[in-house]
Amino acid sequence: MEGQSVEELLAKAELDEAEKLRRITVHKELELEFDLGNLLASDRNPPTGLRCAGPTLDAELRSLARDNMQLIINQLWQLPTERVEEALVARLLEPTTRLPPEKPVPRPRPLMCWQQFARLKGIRPKKKTNLVWDEVSGQWRRRWGYQRARDDTKEWLIEVPGGADPLEDQFTKRVQAKKERVAKNELIRLRNLARAHKTQLPNAAGLHPTEHQSKEELGRAMQVAKVSTASVGRFQERLPKAPHGAGKKRQFQPLFGDFAAEKKNQLELLRVMSSKKPQLDIIRATNKQLREEDQEEAAKRRKLSQKGKRKGGRQGPGSKRKGGPPNQGGKRKGGFGGQMSSGPPGLGGKRKGGRQHQGGKRRK
């Protein structure tokens, strides 16, 4: 009797073990693909069992999910584990699925003038102390800022230095010097910024009146002044002795020139004229599109203001950028040319001329 019950118990234990094993091991036709860095599993088996099942779809899905989950947990438990603060932690691998990044790769910024110079000379930044001893007040004060150690601006007496004009105002001189330093700093910062974003600062040589200006500089200053009107200088009278023909010149090819080049140009022209597909000048198309949108915006704004429903001068979400921001260095010309005809997938709607949101030169 006892023997029988022992046998029964053993048999029962064996059955239980078999059940457990069946639960843990799952049989699949195709192996799953695991990406453990993302805790991801892809099951490539065609869901044949599910196609027939109608009302029991949920239960079938649940069992399928349970099987898949068992497999992925098996995989996860096989990873190398360590114990961190009384919790068992598995070290995950790198994710293998390639997903698109959020933002473009950061460009390395070009070194600024001073950084280049320092690197060349091997100058390293000296570590400075936070506080400096101030004799006047007899305490430790900060190096710059509120209540600093040697504050120039608070002096009530400035001695006239030996060689200076006695009637000159030393206080305003000091203030002017500070303003000049600030302006110089700002100029260098803008120059660095322009160099970082590869735009050009307008050349300002000769535009600031100094003592000795050459004839060319004066001429240039005059030209710039003439062109800086609302109609870009078209209705300004010409000065009698000013050289006319300053500014942009059109280049004409000589009459009898390079025959081969002329032939090539004419054939190209004929080809363009006879081709069925219209040639698209991306820059002109984009500018045209932007101008249209500007006009639409202006019309809308006019309508809104006429109705008198000004919501605090709020601009719509699609409002335009005027000057083009220096960020993301505008590569208008050919950069996005490839995107023109076949836009990024899923992009519906009317996109006339490859409308770009990046900055860069707009009107030309």
Binding site: M69, L92, G346
Partner: protein
């Protein structure tokens, strides 16, 4: 110049940190998701957005107001929102007679729309209808894709990549084995996708 495109020179350290968090980096931040309601979004769609928001809790924003836009026609307002809130994933829900219970899932690259997919919701059981305790927010889910469609068809492959991107969660190097709380199971069957989450 537009407010968003001005080159802002930060005046405080806090502003500087804020800008540094948003600029492009080599190891990127976790993608934020924005959940937007369309012009006429009904109760189902709003509940869907709320549930997805609870799945993506610290890395998502749920906009409460309705926005009357159409993602497939005009992407400017979406791009504006993405730039404002620094989100690169979005989910837009709306409801029409012709497209009932519409859901558009998409992602951005450099604050411009990269790709988006429009899905219709056939049957939806909300999280609050399922009576059990929910997982703490911020847990990384396991993702399982079943069905060969997800590898054969181009559209399904794109959808798979989008869904992985959306529901992935933070990328970590170690994971607590006892903390593997829930799994999101996608099955592609007969042109429909069944999305289940099990705990």
């Amino acid at each position: 110049m537009d407010a968003l495109d001005r080159v802002i020179k930060p005046k405080t350290k806090r502003a500087k940190r804020f800008l540094e968090k948003r600029e492009p980096k080599l190891t990127e931040n976790i993608k934020n998701a924005m959940l937007i309601k369309g012009g006429n979004a009904n109760a189902t769609v709003t509940q869907v957005l709320k549930d997805v928001y609870s799945l993506k809790k610290p890395y998502g924003v749920l906009y409460k107001k309705k926005n009357i836009t159409r993602p497939f026609e005009d992407q400017t307002s979406l791009e504006f929102f993405s730039k404002k809130s620094d989100c690169s994933l979005f989910m837009f829900g709306s409801h029409n007679k012709k497209r009932p219970n519409n859901l558009v899932i998409g992602r951005m690259y450099d604050y411009h729309v990269l790709d988006m997919i429009e899905l219709g919701i056939e049957k939806f059981v909300s999280l609050k209808d399922i009576k059990n305790s929910k997982c703490p927010e911020g847990t990384k889910p396991m993702l399982i894709f079943a069905g060969d469609d997800f590898d054969l068809t181009e559209d399904y492959r794109r959808l798979k990549s989008l869904l992985i991107d959306f529901f992935r969660g933070p990328t970590v190097s170690n994971i607590r084995l006892a903390g593997l709380e829930y799994v999101l199971h996608f099955t592609a069957l007969n042109g429909k996708i069944h999305f289940r989450s099990y705990k």
